[in-house]
Symmetry: C2
């Protein structure tokens, strides 16, 4: 159940048995969301944080003109909404991109962790910092890379993150996003996203059909993306 979160954390630091036990106690309340449903609404004040157990979700904002920008994608094992704990008031929404199963973790319980389990606190903090690092990569890609490179980068990142939680099969993984949704991640129009995707396919580095991505040539893809996984902090060390 909670295994994905533990996998996520254990890729960054060692966990004691006691800490794992506490993590397992996190999940007292579970909820399901249908594709397209809001998991957390903008301007709400959640009293619990949500942890992804199954499915994909997205952090997003809408502009006045009604366009959408997705600022982050969240996978099983991501503590999606740890942000709401210190932030209190949500400045953005979180939507289920596929059928989702999530755990709701009461903020009172999180407060208790900050008061009694400093190491676990630092690891939770770390998770939100890695979110920040991923956002910085997105900013760099949006500002200084081509659409093709940006898209390649996104696939590289998703592959690495899904691998951590054992959701890859070889160089292939499930990605339940439409091209419209992908374009909202990259900040491109759907037409241009489609054409960019096709250049990657034509180059033979990638296949993407029926919600499944297969990376055909990792080396060329990561070269196109200028992908350097340092920012994902995938090293076990004392934190």
């Amino acid at each position: 159940m909670i295994d994905s979160l533990i996998l996520n954390l254990e890729h960054r630091d060692l966990l004691t048995d006691d800490e794992k036990a506490h993590l397992r106690k996190l999940i007292t309340l579970e909820r399901h969301f249908a594709r397209g449903e809001d998991i957390v609404q903008e301007r709400s004040r959640p009293r619990y944080s949500t942890l992804m157990l199954e499915g994909f979700s997205a952090r997003y904002k809408l502009t006045q003109s009604g366009t959408r920008q997705i600022t982050a994608l969240h996978l099983p094992g991501d503590f999606v909404d740890l942000h709401a704990f210190p932030l209190r008031l949500m400045d953005h929404g979180i939507m289920a991109m596929s059928p989702c199963r999530v755990a709701l973790v009461d903020h009172g319980y999180l407060t208790a962790i900050t008061e009694g389990m400093p190491h676990l606190t630092r690891l939770f903090w770390l998770q939100t910092l890695i979110d920040g690092a991923m956002q910085r990569e997105r900013i760099v890609a949006m500002g200084r890379k081509s659409a093709k490179s940006h898209l390649a980068h996104l696939f590289c990142e998703l592959f690495m993150r899904l691998k951590v939680v054992n959701l890859t099969e070889g160089y292939s993984f499930s990605l339940p996003l439409t091209q419209q949704e992908l374009s909202d991640v990259l900040g491109l129009s759907i037409v241009h996203l489609n054409k960019t995707l096709q250049t990657l396919r034509r180059d033979g580095v990638l296949a993407f059909e029926s919600e499944r991505v297969t990376i055909l040539e990792w080396d060329r893809l990561s070269e196109i993306a200028e992908f350097d996984p340092t920012y994902l902090s995938l090293q076990v060390e004392p934190r």
Copy 2:
């Protein structure tokens, strides 16, 4: 000395005298950096975190082709590099954009805070989450707003943040950035940044000369920017 950080935190939650006393003890080592100097280098493993006391600094990444993207600007009172504490290995650099005075805070001391001062820990965590919120705003602006709107948004944000630490005079503030540097923040070419800046000047909403910004019409500027300060978490409440 440490006043700016305290101002920053006190705009988000109440601090006890004991907490303030601990904050004042943070600064044991102070350093100066010249404009253009690296405060923290990419791929380094800092043993201390840096806190801005005076001046502006920028978080940046370079691409293979040598272009630069600035992912965040940091002002006095910003705990710039709290990130390095749980992240350990820097995936980006931090550069002084003006002469800077910074405090170096030993990570051992921060660990002690996470172990003995849970509320202060949550407030430090909050600071990094606000950094994340600002990055999300940048992503939205880069992906779904025009250059003009994005630039206007940056000025709105800087104004609000500088106001918190008493570095504004009326609607005016010092901004020691060249247009080249501004263009690296927005992910635009310097030529286009210049032309965009001039449309804001021509509209009469803003003046920017000799490193000083004056907002002439806040309402119109924030309308152009679609600026909503919610993401800055400028509310005092229990965290």
